[in-house]
């Protein structure tokens, strides 16, 4: 462990702007802080908020990499601040809010609103009529299938994939990897009775699967390592087929 003398002085450059406050125009502001053992950006920002600048706005909830609240641009790359250790970064660290989402202030953006709109558009729930007798034994599911569904369900709606996406930055309504992954998840789930033709209605256009330019920033930056690349490629094939069928029959 470092002795005090060897500890680094970190310089935290933050892109600041509070649209609610006329005295807070867009600007870079620098804070200095001494590094501590196993220091995360959660610790850095909390410390700055408590001791240096009470006006600095950022979002943390679980501070354990689970809830997806604290995504921001860390040296230009989208990531979860709470689990980013300063020791993996240089002495100069630049923080900025996630692009594409509505800015609340400083490092805080409105991912919640975006995600709810996406969920409403894609209807991200099992469509099955919900007629089960709760007293009866549950319908069976293959253990492997349950695990595969969970694999895709691990998305935490942090917005990193959207911030890393070329299309999403140009097209406001683009579903993005987060939405496409959800469709892949429900497609896999026999409890959702929608067919490919139904899914095609949701994502069979340039705002959906055909808008993806396969740059795959999403895949590289997903904090949960979701298999976005393979899922998007797979979904594109399925939707192409569905589109062809739809065109020939109709």
């Amino acid at each position: 462990m470092n002795t005090k003398a060897e500890r680094r002085q970190l310089q935290i450059h933050v892109l600041r702007y509070n649209p609610q406050d006329p005295d807070s125009p867009p600007r870079m502001q620098t804070y200095e802080i001494e590094e501590a053992d196993n220091m995360t950006l959660f610790m850095v920002l909390t410390d700055i908020g408590e001791h240096q600048d009470a006006s600095l706005q950022f979002d943390f909830v679980c501070r354990a990499g689970i809830c997806g609240s604290c995504s921001m641009l860390i040296n230009g790359r989208p990531g979860l601040a709470c689990r980013t250790l300063t020791k993996n970064l240089g002495e100069k660290i630049t923080l900025a809010p996630l692009p594409t989402f509505e800015l609340i202030a400083d490092l805080s953006v409105n991912t919640g609103k975006w995600m709810r709109a996406m969920s409403e558009r894609l209807e991200t729930w099992c469509h099955n009529g919900d007629v089960v007798d709760l007293n009866k034994l549950e319908p069976r599911m293959e253990p492997e299938l349950a695990e595969q569904i969970y694999e895709l369900e691990r998305c935490i709606e942090c917005g990193c994939c959207i911030a890393a996406c070329g299309t999403a930055q140009m097209k406001e309504k683009f579903t993005g990897a987060v939405g496409l992954n959800k469709i892949a998840r429900f497609r896999l789930d026999p409890r959702d009775h929608r067919s490919d033709a139904d899914y095609y209605e949701f994502i069979g256009d340039d705002d959906g699967i055909f808008g993806c330019m396969s740059l795959l920033g999403c895949n590289d930056l997903c904090p949960k390592d979701l298999p976005l690349q393979t899922q998007i490629a797979f979904l594109r094939r399925k939707m192409l087929l569905t589109g062809l069928k739809g065109n020939s029959s109709g």
């Binding site: 509070n18 909830v61 919900d130």
Partner: protein, 660 residues
Amino acid sequence: MKIVYTDVLVIGGGLAGLRAAIAAKRRGHDVHILSLVPPKRSHSVAAQGGMQASIANSIKAAGDNEDLHFHDTVRGSDWGADQNVVRMFVNTSPKAVRQLAAWGVPWNRVRKGEREVFIGGKSAMLTESEAAHGLITVRDFGGTQKWRTCFVSDGTGHSMLYTVSDQVIANSIPVTERVEAMSLIHDGQRCYGAIVRNLVTGELSAWVARATCMATGGFGRIYRVSTNAVINQGMGAAIALETGVATLANMEAIQFHPTAIFPAGILVTEGCRGDGGLLLDAQRHRFMPDYEAEKKELASRDVVSRRMEQHIASGAGVNTRYGDHLWLDITMLGEAHIDKNLREVREICQYFLGIDPVSDLIPVRPAQHYSMGGIRTRPSGESTNLKGLFACGEASCWDMHGFNRLGGNSVAETVVAGMIVGEYIADFCQGTDSDIDISTAQIADFMKREQQAIDSLLASQGTESAPDIMREMQTLMTDQVGIFRSHEQLQEAVEQLQLLRERSKDIGLSYKSPAVNPELVTAYRVPRMLKLALCVAYGALQRTESRGAHYREDYPKRNDRDWLRRTLATWPSSEQSLPNLAYEELDVMSMELPPGWRGYGEKDFIEHPHAASRLAEIERIKQNMPDADRHEIQSALMTYEELLPARYRGRNQRLRDVSE
């Protein structure tokens, strides 16, 4: 003045609030949910290990049923729980799991044939039956006679919250995010909604409702070392307390979880031990069997946490510059198991400790984890004192956990309580009692009061810093109102907290924007958190016994003779420096399971004078019904069914009922 009217105002977008909202909406009422954060970011998302329900599909759950779940929960509570509520809960929990399955939660399933498991660190082979293949499986958790915890890898809360939250969207229930309920609108008898602050614009509005449901979660952040999310500051319980009418119950009952990573305090699930992991000391010695021969690492949380601290105090911990810790060893489980079932744990260790639990030991020490206490309600979820105010989830105390909650019983509680309380809310809204007969002038008064409080904070020339007071409070609570408690420490804590409360009257702000302003938020929350902290510390000081998670070194025995009672706190006037405490007796003569030894932990307790006669009575009742089945016996001992909404009274089918 902006006033919004709705039938049902649900404050809190975690599992409990969302589920209650769905119930009320499906009964045809207008429902609106408010939340500090997007619902999917609520703390429920962090639940890892699982949800208890006696569905009994796996071989290790064979024979499980509501009776065993009931017994385990009451023992776990150290007899503090309301046994009627526990019965309501255990009957509804399997239904909740099955409903969640229908809604899309990918519960892990039973796989037929042999599989290797670890029990007490040793490998064993289990054979799951063909008949159970594909049904929901369970893992082992502490304090249970059977394996009973349904799970989705170690992201159970995540899957549950996403599924329920998406159901809220499917049911077109509006959610207003980034708002905070600041006070409840009431007239001393009846609650009419809340004054709400928009955390982005700073604007206040009044939300007026027939029924108001507090589902605001726990208040772990009054402690410095806590597994809780940073937003778990207990504002729901605090504003209920500030009505001066509603009561908070058992606030001194605070759970400490055995395995928070050291020193960050982030949780690694009880599933680690349930799946076979062990606790080791500095010498790599497995010490739990020395203390708890029977349940070892899987005694209830209060007991394991205490034994760990006891062991550290005996000098057996690992010393570091941040203090001492112990080790959690899950290496024997192997990479495949860890990657499949303890995946978040692996990520947390990698990101926050730079270690890999597949090959490395995890440094752990107990940390504040759960608030058993909360807004006191009837079994219907309605406040005992304020009509139209309901509460459910961790924020509430309908009292199914007593003085210690079992792992896996909380996410189960959130959904079950949401189902039940949501029905009662709908019933209430259908009656004329829920008519909104409050004048606009009265509403305006509440609004004005909040606005003035904020304005005067912004204008304050005070010299105290809100974050400083917050930190001092948290440190005090962790150091003095922790796992081991004593008169001197608690007395001192109460005095110090009172001083902090005085100082909090002189808070000044360095940033004075009325809109988005984290310092302002801390400034108005700190005094409320101090009130909660005082309820905890003062309640703990008065309770001169040890029960569940509340352990007094100077009164180490559970004392049923004098303390088989629930603490009730009110704060009628903000001039008061302490809450008023009153006590509600638990009636031994109507208990289905009268107090006795829990089966783990200290064997010594002071008996309740009626315990023996109730026990004898129960024996008599049972002997008189030799041909009765377990349901008939249960009803003869305690009638709870009429407390359950009719739709949840049905019997739960199990595999053995089908195959027989």
